[in-house]
């Protein structure tokens, strides 16, 4: 087991892009070797050692035996955990955009809030956001057919607009409220919103959305199919979006 502890040396103002911070990149490396990996502060390349205090305990042969603890606020550090395949990242604070983008495996836990595009285009693994998440949880990149394809994202607080846009697989659970248009244009996967939301499932062709709170506006493109019970709780089931001949299932309490 290798534990790498990163403590930011300052509160970054200009955002830092640090796609190098992954268990895959850290596995088997010493603190010096990790410190030599590069992140970008705006347009300026900076070795991680300039940005973080780095401590390494133990060693690992592969990513699945690596745990990265980030102690402090990284709300201006983007792309942490990008494309990681295994291992664990624990962020004891807030995190910036695109955390866990293209993630394939492993686990990221964010104790604070996650900025937009957490889990963008992820295909596997698990992300837990204990605070709130901003826009586009598990969504895609502009113009791409698919957002999230696999894995699971859980947001314990609220999420903002466009949760799971273009989602093709995997699962998103929002324990709090979600903003407008969750599951827009999704083609698969499952979204559970335990709080309230607005206009879910527009242009959904496949997939499932379960809203346990209130839907402020239901899209006027859903066929009501009656009452169905999920885990013993009764929901009204809708099928749509009819405009795109969708067979997506929308359950509203």
């Amino acid at each position: 087991m290798q534990t790498v502890t990163l403590v930011p040396k300052e509160q970054f103002k200009i955002s830092v892009e640090a796609e190098t911070i992954t268990p895959d990149n850290f596995a088997g490396k010493s603190a010096d070797e990790i410190g030599a990996l590069v992140a970008f502060e705006g347009n300026a390349p900076r070795p991680l050692s300039e940005l973080f205090d780095i401590k390494v305990d133990g060693s690992a042969d592969a990513a699945d035996d690596v745990k990265i603890d980030i102690n402090g606020n990284v709300n201006r550090v983007k792309r942490i955990g990008e494309a990681m395949t295994a291992g664990l990242i624990m962020i004891n604070g807030d995190v910036d955009m695109r955390c866990g983008a293209k993630m394939k495996g492993g686990t990221i836990t964010i104790k604070g809030n996650a900025d937009s595009w957490v889990g963008q285009e992820m295909t596997g693994g698990e992300i837990n956001v204990q605070g709130d998440a901003n826009y586009y949880v598990g969504a895609g990149y502009r113009g791409e057919a698919c957002g999230m394809r696999g894995g699971k994202i859980t947001v314990f607080g609220n999420a903002n607009d466009f949760v799971g846009e273009h989602m093709c697989g995997g699962e998103i659970v929002i324990k709090g409220n979600a903003g407008i248009l969750p599951g827009a244009s999704n083609k698969g996967g499952k979204i559970v919103i335990e709080g309230d939301t607005d206009m879910p499932g527009s242009e959904m062709t496949k997939g499932t959305i379960i809203v346990k709170g209130t839907v402020k506006d239901l899209m006027p493109v859903y066929q009501r199919e009656g009452i169905e019970a999920i885990d013993g709780v009764e929901f009204t089931k809708y099928v749509g979006d009819v405009v795109v001949d969708g067979v997506g299932e929308l359950f509203v309490k």
Binding site: K13, I14, S15, E17, F40, E41, G42, N43, A44, R76, M97, R98, S116, W117, Y135, Y136, Y141, R142, G143, I180, L181, A184, S185, M199, S202, E203, D217, M219, P220, V221, Y222, Q223, R224, G240, D241, V242, V243
Partner: protein, 433 residues
Amino acid sequence: MIIKDVLCPFCGCLCDDLTVEVEDNKVIDVQHACKIGTSKIKGHDRIKAPMMRDDKNGEFREVSYDEAINESAKILANSKRPLLYGWASGVCEMMKKGVLLNEEVGGIIDNTASVCHGPSALGVQEKGLPTGTLGQFANRADLVVFWGCNPVQAHPRHMSRYSVFNKGFFAGKGRKSRKIVVFDVRKTDTAEMADEYVQVNPGEDYMVMSALRAIIADKADVVPDSVGGVPKEKLVELGEALKGAKFGIVYFGMGLTQSRGKYKNIDNAVSLITELNAHGKHSIIPMRGHYNVTGFGQVCAWETGFVNAVDMSRGIPYYNPGETCSNDLLMREEIDSAMVIAGDAGAHFPAQSIARMGKVPVIQVDPFHNPTTEMANIVIPTKVSGVELEGTAYRMDSVSLRMRKIVDVDFPSDEEVLDKIIAKVREIKGASS
């Protein structure tokens, strides 16, 4: 001297039939232009010389162009995250230089579409854009929809030149050949002259479009009695009118791009139009604001692959509105300098954004004193493109035309200023590497 076939450097209509009379290098008369175009060509008080100040609350002092340019280059070259914003009131030739400068300084280049039709591009990326040139609509349209736009106020000659009153090959009776429908949240001057005004609740256009799509797909049974404040029977009637048109055109504006849902409104509108093409011919087009805001999108796309909001900090272009647009960056306080050129961030960004711009050095390149000037440290006055400088501009339908020069002035062009800044930046970066 009478100059004919002059292009108007104000709005996206890019009218090219103006006649301007010039005497002693002064514009004395402008014919055929609207009130706004006339006002622009006749001109206003302008900044006379480059100015600088260290403290934004202090007084400006006049400086030489060289000093202002060198100082600007120094700021940009030493920035980690400079923002280069504006670009709409210039010609394409200067925009190319802007993209190059952005490469040199590793910054973000963003244009005024960011607070205008940027979301339209995002909608196009979702669904495409079935459109055409304005003459196509002028010659053919028998159903004209203005959705969330108000050309009477914003594009004064649009309705007489392209969309409503003009005759066309297949629309020989002009206004009488066409049915005009306006969707808006309030009864605008444009709505006043429409055959039909559909009042939509603010922020509910998206649902109205989805309901129309369902109706057109013969799935009206799922549509509730009222959507977005519009009764179902009205929506059914509109659906029939849309389906029955031989050639329908939707002109849309910031009523869609700036209201709830933003690009999703455009996304949905494009789908509506695409689906209507199974019945008649239908097109859709954004009503672009500045005369060459469309040109920036074109130039930026062919230079970088992306339409605006291009982040060059990593040496390759990256685009992601929500992350790389001016207001995203300003609200996150992550830029460390800004150049505002051929656009007025000060007048058109939310106060909080401007307050954040106030905390970093700001370079303004513009002929006129405006709210950005109030926030600037360096001000570099330039020629007024399309009046004092010729060059290329793209009309709202992406037809490019060559702007004419009407009068001569001594000010440098934007392009010349940018060339010098680029040269200086290269010198500074070369010395430090």
